[in-house]
Symmetry: C3
Subunit: 155 residues, 3 copies
Amino acid sequence: MVDLTDLMDDEVFRAFASYATIIISKMMLMSATTAFYRMTRKVFANPEDCATLGKGENAKKYLRTDDRVERVRRAHLNDLENIVPFLGIGLLYSLSGPDPSTAILHFRVFVGARIYHTIAYLTPLPQPNRALGFLVGYAVTLSMAYRLLKSRLYL
Amino acid sequence: MVDLTDLMDDEVFRAFASYATIIISKMMLMSATTAFYRMTRKVFANPEDCATLGKGENAKKYLRTDDRVERVRRAHLNDLENIVPFLGIGLLYSLSGPDPSTAILHFRVFVGARIYHTIAYLTPLPQPNRALGFLVGYAVTLSMAYRLLKSRLYL
Amino acid sequence: MVDLTDLMDDEVFRAFASYATIIISKMMLMSATTAFYRMTRKVFANPEDCATLGKGENAKKYLRTDDRVERVRRAHLNDLENIVPFLGIGLLYSLSGPDPSTAILHFRVFVGARIYHTIAYLTPLPQPNRALGFLVGYAVTLSMAYRLLKSRLYL
C-alpha cells in the first residue's frame, strides 16, 4: 500500500490543503449567515419553513425576499464562482512542482482577497473595495492557470 | 512513469472516490429533474427553448417561473453549496492519512444526509427534516476540516 | 520529501490538468462577461455599484435586471452545475488508471461540448444546439463515473 501521507510531506501541497480548507470554511459560513438572516428577519423561500409561524395566509406573508438575505446569497454565489476555480486550478498547480515560495504567495493573496471581498460585500463598503477583492482573487487564479499550462500543457 | 493506480490501493482514498462519485451523480440528477419539470410543465427561461411551442406572443407565455421548478433549482444550488466543500475538504482529508474507519464513517454519513436532504426538499417533508439533512452534512464537512487543520496546518 | 512532479509525468493526469484548467478558465470568462454587460448596460444588483452614476433616486434606477445579463448568469450557473461534477469525477477517474486514449477522448469531448454550450447560450443559437452541448457533456461525465465505479467501487 502506498503511504499517502507522503503527499502531505510536500510543502506546497500541505500549504494548499491548509489555505483551501480555510477558504472553503469561510464559504460555508455564508450558508450559516443566510440561515441566520432568514430566521431573525422571518424571510423564507419554502412554505414548509414558515409553517410554525402561522396557518394559511398568515404564514404565506413570510414567503418573501429581503435585501439583506439577497446580498448574502449574492456573496455566496460569487464565492462559489471564484473558489471552485481556485480549488481546481490550485490543486493541479500544487501538484505541478511549482516554486514553494511563489505558490504559497499565490494561496495567501487569494485567501486574503476573498476574505476582503466578503467583508466589502456584507458591510457593504463603497466600491471599488469589493471589485478590488474580486479582481485580485481572479488574477491570482489566472496566474496559477497560466503557470500550470506554460509548464505542463498536454492536449 | 509513476504508477498512479497505487493511489487507488489506499483504502480511504478509494472509499472517498466511490462516495464522491455517488454524491456528484446524485447532484447531476437535479439537472435532469429540472429539465423534466421544465418540459412537462412547459416552463422556460429562454425564448429559444419554447420556440417550437408557438410563435410570438403565443410562445412568450411559457417564459415564466413555476413553484416546482424553483424548488428543484433551490435544492440543486444547495447541493452545489454543500457538495463543493465536501469534495474539496474530503479529498484533502483523505490524503492526510486519517484513520480509515473514522474517514469512511464521515463519507457515509455525509452521503446519507445529502440524499435525505434532497428527499426532504423535493417531497417536501415538513421541517425540521430538511434542516436536519443540511446540518448533519454541514457538521461532517466541518469535522473533516477541523481534523485536517489540526494535524496538517501549514501556513 | 516525495517528488510530486512524478504525478505530472502520468500522461492521463497531465492531460486532465490541461483540459481542466482550460475549461475552468472558460468558466471564469463568464464572470468577466457579466461584469462587461453590467457596466456597458448600466444594470446593477447592489446600490454601492451605481453610487457614482447619480445620487438617491437617480442611482436607484440602475438597480434592475436585464435579459442579456440574466442570460450570461444562467450560462455561468449551468457551467458551475456541470463543470464541478467534471472536475470531481474527472480527477478521481484520472487517478484510477484508465486507458490513456479513452480518458483523453473523454476530456476532449467534454471541453468541446461545454465551449459549444456557451456559444449556443450566448449567441443564442436555436435549440437543440444548447441542449446538445449540455447532453454531450453530461453523458461524458456519467461515462467517467460509471467506469470509475465499475473498476474501483469501495463502500
